[in-house]
């Protein structure tokens, strides 16, 4: 049971770091929801 919980924790950590890396560097979506400059400019 303890081993499974460790695997879940490691998986969650890897997923979180990978997702952060993707969002920050590769995602086309703007990271910051309140970011006006990019968001509004994009709307035009």
């Amino acid at each position: 049971m303890q081993t499974i919980l460790v695997i879940i924790s490691v998986g969650a950590s890897l997923f979180y770091l990978g997702r952060q890396l993707y969002i920050r560097f590769f995602s086309q979506k703007e990271k910051c929801e309140s970011c006006a400059v990019s968001k509004i400019s994009k709307g035009n």
Binding site: M1, Q2, T3, L5, V6, S9, V10, A12, S13, L14, Y16, L17, Q20, L21, R24, F25, K31, C32, S34, C35, A36, V37, S38, K39, I40, S41, G43, N44
Partner: protein
């Protein structure tokens, strides 16, 4: 109904926004604080209104990236953000300049409410405005007087918004036959602005009464000293000196409490939980990981507390003003001061604040050098290394040597940023240069509410953004340090146990040696040994190398990584244990790993190295290219390596 909140910088626009919506937004005084769009909602008699806070701008003609937003939205009725109603906030104590933007928006035929904010300061300056006379000039506009900092007039503003109806009066333009949006050249725009200013001046002669009080305000008297060519710099230096002294002294107490608290908690958790892998992960990985985040909260909170006081009082605008003349010869100007000052807390808002710089070259240089300013994430690294290799003694009878080294590291970062900026100024070519247009806000007594909200917001960001990354890395590092490929760890331990030297040791030392052997054969140990030849010339061993790699995510991870790698057992004094363990650490030849040479070399490395993924991501986003973050990482990496190499070889 979509409502746009518009106005010049430093008119109290953000205060109006906070008062109307109740949303928490930073209220600032220095130029360009409202870079991001803020959206809020409020309701009057069950009717909901959506309010958008736009970047502060002096006219609708854009001079920087964030001002472009205002132009794009207001010039395009089909834009999804085009407002049904514009609330234009003007500083009642500086009405002439503020009316330029208002009259432009008025001439765009956007239904408007004119908010005369800072009415208290206007009164103190002896300025009285005849509202009826203004209304006669702009018949379709409603006018409300407010003092948003204390919420005065906000209810009336809400009622005015609720009752607002587009008037059917024939439109009476401020400038006849104006073609505001068709003027694209700078000269034409200047002409248009001049024409408006001359009409505004005539209008104010009719509607504004100024008593003698305005000739020499309290702010002007203070400014004679604070922006003085000599005393201004002296005062700023003293302020900075005390700021860092306070942070250094006051943060240490709560940091110790948090550190000891988490050490004890980790120990307690370890005893309470049943034996097992996950229990070890919680007590040795997760709890110390969370503690590793929270221990820096006092420093972050104090830093922003003092910066907020300076900002709220109006002093930071004076700093921008006096530093403008220092920045010019190296290709920057006062507008770069705000991003650089922000970078002392964190380079991310610093890089984003560079949006207010209209000239691309100046903006790029500011973005590239901002991470050289020593950010708050470096404080734990510096503090640990200073405590490790710099003796705690007094020099010249009154200067604390450790504190002096910390000051030197900050100073080195600042000087390096200026030197690199000067070099880039020579390399990068640009046709024109921008100038600083700065409006000095009146001095105000800092409001505790605004300061508290700002500090809370920053601390929240630190805990929940940086904290999650640190926690995730702590978990991964713990796993990588606990396991190794196949049975390699067991085989090496068995081999060790048969050695004569091992058998002659005390039991406690044997356990220590077994732990070291396991670590050396874990995944992290193997990786560390692989990179060791690259970092050995700097005086580092493989354990430091691993911490350098993990701290690429964030600099503060360095301390946590070392704590994990050295297998420090939580005994309620984790920090002391780590330092003691590091002090005893020796190489195979018996020499100390953390000598003065290697310690200073590490400090120099952290002054220069671009150890922050989040900053690189923001630089990539802001420059819309991979080129600049890569260039930044490479040049900072080279500076770090060469600087550390030189320091190590000189002090060896």
């Amino acid at each position: 109904m979509k409502i746009a909140l518009l106005g010049n910088p430093n008119t109290g626009k953000s205060s109006v926004f906070n008062s109307l919506t109740g949303l928490r937004q930073h209220v600032g005084n220095f130029p360009g604080v409202t870079v991001d769009k803020k959206i809020g909602e409020f309701s009057v008699n069950d009717t909901k209104y959506k309010l958008t806070d736009f970047p502060g701008t002096y006219s609708i003609y854009p001079r920087s990236k964030d001002e472009e937003v205002v132009y794009k939205v207001l010039s395009t009725p089909s834009n999804e953000n085009y407002p049904d109603l514009a609330i234009i906030v003007v500083d009642a104590s500086n009405i002439e300049r503020n009316l330029l933007l208002f009259t432009q928006i008025y001439d765009l035929k956007i239904p408007s409410i004119l908010v005369l904010n800072m009415s208290d300061i206007a009164s103190r300056k002896g300025i009285k405005v005849d509202l009826d006379a203004i209304k006669a000039t702009f018949p379709n506009v409603e006018i409300v007087e407010t003092n948003a900092r204390i919420g005065l007039g906000i209810q009336r503003l809400k009622e005015t918004i609720h009752a607002f109806k587009v008037q059917n009066n024939p439109f009476k333009p401020f400038i006849e036959g104006n073609k505001l949006l068709e003027i694209s050249d700078l000269e034409g725009q200047s002409c248009e602005a001049e024409k408006r200013f001359s009409l505004i001046k005539k209008l104010l002669e009719k509607v504004m009464v100024t008593s003698d009080l305005s000739t020499d305000s309290r702010s002007n008297k203070i400014d004679r000293f604070l922006v003085h060519p000599i005393f201004g710099y002296l005062f700023f230096t003293i302020i900075l000196f005390f700021l860092f002294q306070f942070i250094y002294v006051f943060a240490s107490f709560p940091m110790d409490w948090i550190d000891k608290g988490f050490g004890a908690f980790s120990f307690w958790v370890g005893n309470q939980l049943p034996n097992g892998l996950f229990s070890d992960l919680i007590s040795q990985g997760i709890v110390p990981g969370i503690g590793g985040v929270l221990v820096f909260v006092p420093q972050i909170a104090l830093l922003f507390f003092f910066l907020s006081i300076l900002e709220e009082s109006g002093y930071l605008s004076r700093v921008v003003f006096i530093l403008d003349r220092i920045m010019r010869p190296i290709g920057l100007n006062g507008k770069s001061v705000v991003p650089l000052l922000s970078s002392v807390a964190c380079a991310i808002p610093g890089v984003m604040a560079a949006r207010t710089i209209s000239n691309w070259k100046e903006r790029l240089i500011t973005i590239l050098v901002a991470p050289l300013m020593s950010c708050s994430a470096r404080i734990p690294v510096y503090t640990l290394l200073i405590a490790l290799v710099i003796p705690s003694k007094t020099i010249f009878g009154f200067i604390n040597l450790q504190g002096f080294v910390l000051f030197c590291l900050y100073f080195l970062g600042l000087i390096s940023a200026l030197v690199v900026a000067a070099v880039m100024h020579l390399i990068l070519k640009a046709k024109d240069s921008s100038f600083l247009l700065l409006e000095m806000p009146s001095y105000k007594l800092p409001r505790l509410r605004n300061i508290s909200l700002n500090v809370l917001e920053k601390v929240k960001i630190f805990i929940f953004e940086a904290g999650k990354v640190i926690l995730a890395i702590s978990i991964l590092l713990w796993v990588l340090a606990t396991f190794g490929p196949g049975d390699r760890m067991d085989v090496s331990v068995e081999k060790l146990k048969k050695e004569q030297v091992f058998l002659s040791l005390e039991k406690e030392d044997q356990q220590q040696l077994i732990a070291s052997e396991k670590l050396a054969n874990s995944y992290i140990g193997i990786l560390g040994k692989t990179i060791e030849p690259v970092i050995a010339p700097l005086g580092y061993d493989w354990k430091i190398g691993i911490s350098l790699i993990t701290s690429f995510a964030a600099r503060e991870v360095f301390v946590g990584s070392l704590a994990t790698i050295y297998s420090v057992h939580d005994d309620g004094e984790e920090q002391t244990s780590l330092i003691n363990r590091m002090r005893k650490e020796r190489r195979d030849d018996g020499s100390l790993v953390y000598s003065l040479a290697s310690g200073v070399s590490l400090m120099i490395f952290y002054v220069y190295a671009m150890q922050c993924m989040a900053t690189l991501a923001v630089v990539k986003r802001e420059t819309k290219s991979w080129k600049w973050p890569i260039i930044q990482m490479v040049f900072m990496g080279v500076l770090a390596y060469v600087g550390a190499l030189i320091a190590y070889n000189i002090l060896l």
